[in-house]
């Protein structure tokens, strides 16, 4: 175990959604390289409280990289420099003594800043509420082994289902698009036999809700590169394909009705 010394933190402070924000500079004299990035902020906050100042507000919870609560643009990169790693799992060994570290909230119109580094990601919930589920009321489910699912299909669904809903994809996207998030949920459900009944209705509703809040995808691929769960950009292709199909199928249904 060794220590990093003389770190300069430039932290975004913003009192409320309507207020102007500023960078505040703090120097951390010494910290263990075993510390996590959020523990660095804990140390800073403890010091601020001792000095009678308000602690820096940031969202965090499980600190195991699974709840998706933590965020942060670190030196302009969503979740910081380490690939496939959430901010809470980023450790100080990824930095060097003397570094200047710039810490900002997610940058996206659809995720307004609440305070300091905390943003509002509830637009993600609206997308799921629009159709990110399989209608299966409690009680009527058939035996779990009634419908075999080929292993590659189950695995592919699981690959997409791993999304933690952190929003790094949106923050990294130059357009502020949520196609990777939405595509991941659509791919998870649309690949499974249980998801077929609502496949096209789901896709149409989710995509159109997404478009109400987020920017448009122009295939930069930043989302997938920033994703801590390494969700493949293929899910966007699948989503687009199903969306196109849904417009045809649903048009037929409309003409019947």
């Amino acid at each position: 175990m060794s220590h990093l010394t003389n770190l300069t933190l430039k932290v975004w402070r913003q009192n409320g959604p309507q207020d102007a924000g500023v960078f505040e500079t703090h120097v951390i004299d010494q910290i263990s390289d075993e510390a996590s990035f959020l523990e660095l902020l804990d140390v800073l906050n403890e010091r601020l409280i001792t000095e009678g100042k308000e602690a820096v507000v940031f969202d965090h919870d499980c600190r195991e990289g699974i709840c998706g609560t933590c965020s942060l643009m670190i030196n302009g990169v969503a979740h910081g420099p380490k690939r496939a790693t959430t901010t809470c799992q980023l450790h100080m060994r990824s930095f060097s003594s003397g570094d200047t570290i710039v810490i900002e909230p997610w940058r996206a119109t659809a995720f307004p800043v609440i305070k300091d580094l905390m943003v509002d990601r509830s637009a993600f919930d609206r997308i799921v509420e629009a159709g990110g589920y399989i209608t299966a009321p409690t009680g009527g489910a058939p035996d779990a082994n009634l419908i075999p699912i080929p292993k590659p299909v189950a695995d592919a669904a699981m690959d997409s289902a791993q999304c933690i809903g952190c929003g790094a994809c949106v923050a990294a996207c130059p357009n502020g698009a949520a196609n990777l998030f939405t595509g991941a949920k659509i791919a998870h459900l649309n690949l499974l036999p249980q998801g077929q009944a609502e496949r096209f209705k789901r896709t149409e509703a989710m995509v159109e809700t997404m478009d109400e809040f987020f920017g448009s995808c122009t295939n930069h691929g930043e989302c997938s590169a920033a994703c801590p769960k390494e969700i493949s950009i293929d899910v966007i292709a699948l989503m687009n394909k199903d969306y196109r199909s849904s417009k045809f199928k649903n048009r037929k249904e409309l003409s019947r009705g």
Partner: protein, 638 residues
Amino acid sequence: MKVDSKIPAGVLADKWDNYKANAKLVNPNNKRKFKVIVVGTGLAGASAAATLAELGYQVDAFTFHDSPRRAHSIAAQGGINAAKNYQGDGDSIHRLFMDTIKGGDFRSREGNVYRLAQVSVDIIDQMVAQGVPFAREYGGLLDNRSFGGAQVSRTFYARGQTGQQLLLGAYQQLARQIGLGGVRLFNRSELVDVVVVDGRCAGIVTRDLLTGDITSHAAHAVVLATGGYGNVFFLSTNAMNSNVTAAWRAHRRGAFFANPCYTQIHPTCIPQSDEFQSKLTLMSESLRNDGRVWVPKNIDEKRPVDQIPEADRDYYLERLYPSYGNLAPRDISSRAAKRLVDKGHGVGPLKNGVYLDFSAAINRLGRDVVEERYGNLFEMYERIAGEDPYKTPMRIYPATHYTMGGLWVDYELATTIPGLYAAGEANFSDHGANRLGASALMQGLADGYFVLPYTISNGLAPLLGKSIPGTDHPAFKEAENEVKARYSGYVHKNGTRSPDWFHRELGKIIWDYCGMERSKEGLEKALGELPALYEEFKTDLRVTGTDEGVNQTLEKAGRVDDFFQLGMQMCQDALTREESCGAHLRVEHQTEEGEAERDDDKFCHVAAWEWTGEPMNPTRHVEELVFENAQLATRSYK
């Protein structure tokens, strides 16, 4: 006051069917006349809220997170048990029941546990129908793995992210109901008080974490699915925001708190690496399926780990417990690790861990198979510890993980306050003195999907046509004023120390004296130190900022306050339970080999504590446990 578990009559296997057959129902048209509040959106809360809304009740769901999907159920890794017997290896409802009773060291209720085993099979069906991508065999059928405390493979899993997938399943059902208008969601809202009018729960008071506004909510029934209290230890595998406040505020209003000293220490966590560490990370117990636990025989071992020959390694779980080996239950594995580390056999820079070694599994199965089973866990380990577990054995050590104790509930999951229910980890009901692996997810979903919808209808039916107190009732105003005074009090103390500082000090006391091993002497010492520290907290706390708008320091202060009061009760519970059982090991009550010695004559009961207004002086009530089917026996995993 007598605590009545209300276990239905009849033979064990028929109790739940008898209950359902006789439970009162609410007509579909009348369900919408009832408002149910569900606090917490983890497995128990999300499943309860979604199911109650599907049935037609008006549901208000509360979470302090920004989204229901963040609840800490999401972090469960290994799996969920169910008595499906898909492997044809001799599993049955009765066997899951027996394993759970035995695993809980005969300190849980037969009726509740049997029901849990019964509905376990429905959970898997339900979750598959929702699209949970459980692991499968090449033929397309569901795969299973084995887990500690069982000799069958009954654990269903989704890689190392079973909790995530189950929670997302439940969250999606909840989201569907939110979209349809069946559930109103209050996010970033924390329960800060429970309101009781004429002996019945009338609703809750919440604090909006974005504005600091204090608001009352009235309902016909309130469900607390607010998780466990493991963060009383400060360092635990719980998420940073997990807390006891909802359960504790209900306790202070009259809900009994049961067996607070039953706290589970999980054997496979990454050891602490420095003093300002904020939390510990669990590595799934499923790793013990293929990993072998060992320490060097020589306490002065200096050779690199790969150069220590077999003869100089002590595979102590295989040696001490040959029939269960590395899959011995959590409490037993944890204590074995602690004893060896205390003797100086620990490994790693701080000599505070034991090895969990996969080299034999990699040789036997190949790296690909090991990667398939545990790949994400290995990656997580490497990120945190900075070592590659494919090459170097993992270092692990026990850490607080789960709390078996919680709000006392009867068979209907009703607390001692009529109209107030507790589900999931927040209640005490099914795991006795020790929970088996992969049973927490099972219990959360059982409570939410398959138990509460029946018992709540039985409780609401008699209320049809009767009016309930609204939020204009003086009791709500009184509670709101108390809450406002409490939170503005924290802000205006102007002391010198942060809530985190007090939390850390509190955690040290609880871990040292009410952790893996407890003694009369230590507990009495803790009970001397805690009130003194609590007094300091009341006078020397410093919370910067105001009680309006976002203030995470203030949120923490309220939670630490309640942890203090809980901590005092935990130590009293541990002190008065003069036996060892499950996770509760009293050093005065152990065999020469260090195994727990139960005292069934004096302590075959649940301790249910009643709040008296003074945290150091609660009243202890007793619910005798009756075993008609399982035979009281000494737990042996040898």
